[in-house]
């Protein structure tokens, strides 16, 4: 299996590492040659710190060269539909017949991206969490023309390189991940905006409370461990309370500049004097450790 990474910004460069540490040959292309150079430098630094080793990716200067002999193409270009469509048309023309064309899009329906392409049946969404070499989940869904076999092969391939494929049966805006994130963010902002608590308190309930479980189990799994009789007993016993509380939740916040500034000040107070870069490095380092713990001990 040989792989091409098309578009190598923050997401694309991280995909390179997913594939090289799985031992696969990787071709790297971007419309900007500088981006390829920078991604390969980033990759070399990350790989040097990682005992798992892996292959050395190859930068190439044309899309055709990148796709000539590969079986998986991971596209991570800009999130603008006409550009995505044009790129997929070029990729479909350049790739060999057995290649799967996967998009990292967080936004678009593959039905739209691949509309009218001769190879629409081999086009699939594979939306990662940022950065994919740290966070395993990848949302997988086909468009209306995608073959069931391609969706199934996509899940198998992603699992084979150590990711967690998550299958969606149909397109919804935001997929699963950004919808559930938006649900939590909406209530968090609503609580801040309503003066119920400050940003640090709202975050603390997640990071030292609910989030400790959610690193291990999703909401259904958590419900299942919250009553001796499992999820059925839990939702039967608390169903009415849940409905009442769900109806009482906050609505969509304004997101106006004053509110965003309040959020910003709230976050400043949580991490005084710590740079975003240092926080992100800590986050990624710790996510890798938690993922490792879960590989060593699972139910």
């Amino acid at each position: 299996m040989t792989v091409a990474v098309v578009g190598c910004g923050v997401i694309g460069r991280s995909w390179i590492r997913v594939f090289t540490r799985a031992g696969l040959p990787v071709r790297v292309w971007d419309v900007a040659p500088d981006a390829v150079r920078q991604a390969l430098e980033w990759h070399a630094a990350v790989a040097a710190r990682d005992a798992r080793g892996g292959t050395t990716p190859t930068g190439v200067t044309s899309l055709e060269e990148a796709l000539g002999d590969v079986q998986w193409v991971q596209e991570s270009g800009p999130e603008r539909l006409p550009e995505k469509q044009a790129l997929f048309a070029r990729m479909d023309a350049a790739a060999g017949p057995d290649a799967v064309l996967a998009s990292s899009t967080s936004t678009f329906d593959m039905t739209e991206i691949a509309r009218g392409l001769p190879g629409a049946s081999r086009c699939v969404v594979a939306h990662p969490v940022n950065p994919p070499h740290v966070v395993p989940a990848v949302e997988v869904l086909g468009g209306s023309s995608t073959s069931a076999d391609v969706v199934s092969r996509a899940c198998d391939f992603l699992a084979s390189v150590g990711q967690t494929p998550v299958l969606l049966r149909r397109y919804v805006p935001g997929f699963l991940l950004n919808r559930m994130q938006a649900a939590l963010v909406r209530e968090a902002i609503s609580l801040l905006d309503g003066g119920v608590a400050d940003a640090d308190a709202i975050d603390a309930v997640i990071r030292d409370g609910l989030g400790l479980r959610w690193a291990l189990m999703g909401p259904f799994g958590v419900a299942n461990t919250n009553a001796d009789g499992g999820a059925r007993e839990y939702f039967t016993r608390y169903g009415a309370s849940f409905r009442w509380l769900m109806d009482d939740l906050g609505g969509t916040p304004t997101m106006d500049p004053a509110l965003i500034e309040r959020i910003g000040e709230g976050v400043d107070a949580i991490y005084p004097g710590v740079s975003h870069e240092a926080l992100r490095e800590w986050r990624d380092r710790m996510v890798e450790r938690i993922t490792q713990l879960k590989r060593q001990d699972h139910p």
Copy 2:
């Protein structure tokens, strides 16, 4: 500092361990003497497995004996308001003048629980996550008569025994924790109910995706690491997308028996053949390990 645990079901018995491992003398009382015996047995087994050691709790046969000389009372009785009010009246009469009376309630406003009590100013909510000896966050809020000093002492005391106090400025139903949980659960059930994905996929996006971050940072902290310019840049750039998506989120599900059965079948498929008890033990063991990792390496 001496502590009384009043009511020792699943939450109360776990509080005993929070206090004993902090080295405090603990008196334990429940309206049912059998519950005291069972809680002390449970505590002995948990303490025996925990290298941190601690004090040995004392079971007592009357509320008055439990409260005679303590500075903190942690009440974890049934979640029924008239019983809670009656219990707080007895506790207020029995406790010495410098004792704080804290309730583990997840539901009620301390304004209601302590209404009319001579010692209403020393009554405070300290709502833990279950079980508190594993999960650190504790929501703290006063009622309309609670003194600011008592709220502040409650936060200091909970921090001194190794918990994470989370201060609410005012009462809202569900506090922070159950509101944010309900927000996530609502969208998760809505996605299942709408046939977008199965329970395992929905859970996987959390446990192998968003939840790995939420064990480290709340939604504001995560936003802060998702753009080079921090939370202000993130919410400015994505504010409109977030609003659009928030308006598209699912509503409150029916929670009817057929839906609950579908959830139950979905959970069965995630953990085939694994008992709820084994899952809960794994969850708690792993939460302790993650919490330990965070104590060793923090931003």
